[in-house]
C-alpha cells in the first residue's frame, strides 16, 4: 500500500490500523478555486463580457459549466497526491462540476446555483503544484443523467446523441448574433467539448469506446491552493475565432472533427481536433494559474 492510499483510507476514517506507515496527522480539507475570465474581468451572466473573438464583437455569457476529474496536488518532493473529493451536489468521488452561470440574463434556462470550487481532503503537506483534467472519466461519461447522482444528473450537460456528457459547455451571445451560411442568424455561439466517435456494444448495452477522448489534462507546476486559482479565459479561448459568424456545421464548435470553427477552438484549448489528444500534455493556452478571487 502506498502512502497516498494510506492517507486516502485515513481520510475516510477507516482502517487506520491497516496503514503500514505511522501517521501523525489527519487529512485536512482543501479547496481548489476556479475563475472564469473575459477581458480580464470575472465573466458572469449579469454583466457584458466586452469584445470577444478575432472579430472583437461585444458578447454576453450564455452558459459556462465544465467537469474536472483526477484532481491531484503535487508535493514539494514531486509526489502526486490525489485530492479526495468530498461528496456533494457538485462532486462525487471522481468528478466535480464547476458552474459559472446562474440562469440570469442571457443565461436563461440555466441553474440558479453556481460553484467555483472543488472541495476535498488531503494529507497535510507542502504542496506546490496542481494537476487535473477537464473531463469526465470514461467509466462515468456514458451513464444516464437520469440514473446518476449529482453532479452527473444535469440534463444540460448530457450529450444524448453522443451517449455521453459535455465536458465543457461554454457559450456566448455575440451582439447581433452569429451569421450562418444559410443566411439565418444564431443568437448563441457554442463551444461543447466531449468525447466523439463513440461506439457501443449491443450485447452488453454499454457504450464502450470513443475515437476521440477530448479530455484536457492540465498541469501547474507552481500552484498554491491558498492563493491561486485555475483560470479559464474566454478571451484566450475565442481569440482565433470569429464569433459573429459561422461557416458551417454546428454553430461554433461542438467538437466536430470537420467543423470549420473547431480548428481554432481546439488549438486554443490545446487539443488535437483529429486525435482528441492534448497537443502539449498539461498545457492549455486557455487555462492558466491566476489569483484566487
Amino acid at each position: 500500500m502506498n502512502t497516498s492510499k494510506c492517507f486516502g483510507l485515513l481520510a475516510s476514517a477507516a482502517l487506520v490500523g491497516a496503514c503500514s506507515h505511522p501517521v501523525t496527522h489527519e487529512a485536512q480539507s482543501q479547496s481548489i478555486a476556479f475563475e472564469l475570465l473575459a477581458n480580464g474581468q470575472s465573466a458572469r451572466c449579469s454583466a457584458p463580457l466586452g469584445p470577444l473573438g478575432r472579430d472583437q464583437i461585444p458578447a454576453q455569457l450564455h452558459d459556462a459549466r465544465f467537469y474536472v476529474q483526477d484532481v491531484v496536488l503535487i508535493a514539494k518532493d514531486g509526489r502526486h497526491v490525489p485530492l479526495q473529493l468530498t461528496t456533494s451536489d457538485w462532486q462525487n468521488a471522481n468528478v466535480a462540476l464547476l458552474d459559472f452561470e446562474d440562469g440570469s440574463g442571457q443565461c436563461v434556462g440555466g441553474t440558479p446555483e453556481t460553484n467555483h470550487e472543488v472541495r476535498g481532503s488531503i494529507p497535510p503537506g507542502d504542496y506546490v503544484g496542481l494537476a487535473l483534467t477537464l473531463g469526465v472519466p470514461p467509466g462515468l461519461n456514458h451513464t444516464s443523467t437520469e440514473l446518476e447522482p449529482p453532479p452527473l444528473d444535469i440534463a444540460a450537460m448530457g450529450w444524448s446523441w453522443q451517449a455521453g456528457r459535455k465536458f465543457a459547455k461554454l457559450e456566448v451571445d455575440p451582439q447581433g448574433g452569429a451569421a450562418k451560411v444559410d443566411g439565418s442568424r444564431s443568437a448563441t455561439w457554442y463551444v461543447h467539448l466531449g468525447s466523439t466517435g463513440c461506439t457501443g456494444n449491443p450485447v452488453t448495452g454499454e457504450t464502450v469506446s470513443c475515437l476521440r477522448g477530448n479530455r484536457l489534462p492540465l498541469l501547474f507546476e507552481r500552484f498554491d491552493p491558498r492563493q491561486d486559482a485555475v483560470v479559464v479565459d474566454l478571451s484566450a479561448l475565442l481569440a482565433g475565432s470569429d464569433i459573429g459568424r459561422d461557416q458551417g456545421m454546428a454553430v461554433g464548435c461542438m467538437s466536430g472533427p470537420d467543423d470549420p470553427e473547431c480548428g481554432p477552438v481546439f488549438e486554443r484549448l490545446g487539443l488535437s481536433l483529429q486525435s482528441g489528444e492534448p497537443l502539449q500534455p498539461g498545457h492549455s493556452p486557455s487555462v492558466a494559474r491566476g489569483a484566487r478571487p
Partner: protein, 375 residues
C-alpha cells in the same frame, strides 16, 4: 374528467394489475424469432409495460405539455407518423424521419446512424432532453414540474409502485424512461402474412412469392441488408454473443462529387468524422414498411415504388438545386448497391411481397393503444 370516473378507472386498472405477474414476460414469439435482449436493470413486467403505455401517450411528459411520444409514433402507421420530418413540442423540425417502432427490441443500435446508442433507454434521452432540435423539451428547469404533473395524476403513483416495487421513490424520470422502453419492447410485429406463410399457416399470392424470391436473390440483393427475421442487418437477441453494426451509404447524395451528404444528415460521419462513414445509415427493418412512408432517413422518397426505383437505378441522381449531384457515383456507396434495372413486373412483385410484411394486429392491439382515450 370527473372524480367518480377517475376512481372507477383507477380501481379497474389496479384490479387488472393485481392479476399480472410482477416479474416475467411472455413474448409469444413464433419459432423463427429469437427472444430479444432485455437490459438486466430493466426486466419486463406487465405492470411496467402498462405504465409505459400510459406515459407513451401522455403529453404531460413534454416540457410544455403539448406532445407525447405518440405524436410522432402513431399506432395506425406502425408507430411512424407519415411525415417527411416531424415537429417538436416547441415548433422545431427534426433532422430526420420518425421511424416506426415495431420490433425495436431487436435493434442493435438506435436512431438512423448512431453506433453509440445501443439501448432504448439511452435512445430516449435524445427526444426527451435533446435541444438541437427540441422534441419533448424536458430540461433541468422543468424536469421537477413534469414529474409533479405525473404525481398529480391519480393513475400514476400506484402504476409506478406496481412497476417498480423495489424502489423507495418509484416515480422518477429514470423510471419513466425504463417503463417507456419496456412498452416499446412490447411492440412486436411477427404475425404478418409472410410469418404465417413461414409457419405453414397460410399462403402467399403468386406475385408475392415471385417478389419474395427476387428479394432474397443475388439479383436484387435486398437480403444483404434486410435479410434477418426482422428484415434488417443489425439484430441483437437474448443469446447474441457478438453483434455486427453495419451502416451503409446507398448513394442518395453526392453533393460535391466527392461523396458528401447534406449536414446534419451525413450518417455515422456526424459522430465519427471518419470519411468512410460519410452517408452511412442503418438499414431499417422492413416490417410494416407499407405503412411507414415516406422513406429514407430524410423522408425524401414518398412511396415504396420510388424506393424500388431508386435501388433499380443503383442510387439517385439529383439534377437540380442545392442537393444536386449523382449519388449513383458516390465514392462511399456500398458495393451492394448496383444498378439492377428491375422490370415493371419485378417492381410490382417486390411491392406485393413488401406489403405481405404488414402485421395488422400491431395496428389494432388494444394493449398498444392510447389508454387515455375514452376517459
Amino acid at each position: 374528467m370527473k372524480l367518480g370516473r377517475i376512481c372507477c378507472g383507477l380501481a379497474g386498472l389496479l384490479l387488472s394489475l393485481s392479476g399480472m405477474a410482477v416479474e416475467g414476460w411472455d413474448w409469444q414469439l413464433p419459432s423463427h424469432v429469437p427472444e430479444p435482449r432485455v437490459p438486466q436493470d430493466n426486466p419486463m413486467s406487465a405492470a411496467k409495460v402498462e405504465l409505459g403505455r400510459h406515459l407513451f401517450y401522455d403529453p404531460r411528459l413534454s416540457g410544455n405539455g403539448t406532445q407525447s411520444c405518440a405524436t410522432c409514433h402513431v399506432q395506425e402507421q406502425a408507430f411512424s407518423d407519415g411525415k417527411v420530418l416531424s415537429t417538436g413540442s416547441t415548433g422545431e423540425t427534426t433532422h430526420r424521419n420518425a421511424p416506426g417502432l415495431a420490433n425495436v427490441a431487436w435493434h442493435a443500435t438506435y436512431n438512423w446512424a448512431n453506433p453509440a446508442i445501443v439501448t432504448l433507454e439511452r435512445q430516449m434521452e435524445v427526444p426527451l432532453f435533446g435541444d438541437d432540435p427540441v422534441e419533448m423539451g424536458i430540461t433541468d428547469g422543468n424536469r421537477a414540474q413534469v414529474l409533479q404533473r405525473l404525481r398529480d395524476e391519480p393513475l400514476y403513483p400506484p402504476l409506478f409502485t406496481a412497476a417498480f416495487p423495489e424502489q423507495d421513490e418509484p416515480l422518477s424520470m429514470g423510471s419513466v424512461i425504463k417503463a417507456i422502453a419496456a412498452f416499446e419492447r412490447s411492440l412486436i410485429a411477427v404475425d404478418s402474412r409472410y410469418d404465417r406463410y413461414l409457419q405453414g399457416q397460410g399462403g402467399l399470392t403468386a406475385s408475392e412469392l415471385r417478389g419474395k424470391d427476387l428479394f432474397f436473390s443475388e439479383k436484387a440483393e435486398c437480403h444483404h441488408c434486410h435479410g434477418s427475421f426482422n428484415f434488417n442487418d443489425q439484430v441483437v437477441h437474448a443469446r447474441s454473443r457478438q453483434v455486427e453494426m453495419p451502416f451503409h451509404n446507398t448513394g442518395l447524395y453526392n453533393l460535391n462529387g466527392e461523396g458528401a451528404y447534406p449536414f446534419p444528415n451525413r450518417g455515422v460521419f456526424e459522430l465519427s468524422g471518419e470519411p468512410r462513414d460519410m452517408g452511412a445509415f442503418r438499414a431499417p427493418s422492413l416490417r410494416n414498411v407499407a405503412l411507414t412512408a415516406p422513406y429514407f432517413h430524410d423522408g425524401s422518397a414518398a412511396t415504396l415504388r420510388e424506393v424500388l426505383g431508386f435501388y433499380s437505378q443503383g442510387g439517385r441522381n439529383v439534377e437540380h438545386g442545392p442537393r444536386s449531384g449523382d449519388g449513383r457515383l458516390n465514392p462511399y456507396k456500398s458495393g451492394l448497391i448496383v444498378r439492377v434495372g428491375f422490370s415493371e413486373q419485378e417492381i410490382g412483385d417486390l411491392l406485393a411481397f413488401l406489403e405481405s410484411l404488414t402485421d395488422e394486429s400491431l395496428l389494432r392491439k388494444s394493449a398498444h393503444s392510447d389508454p387515455w382515450q375514452g376517459d
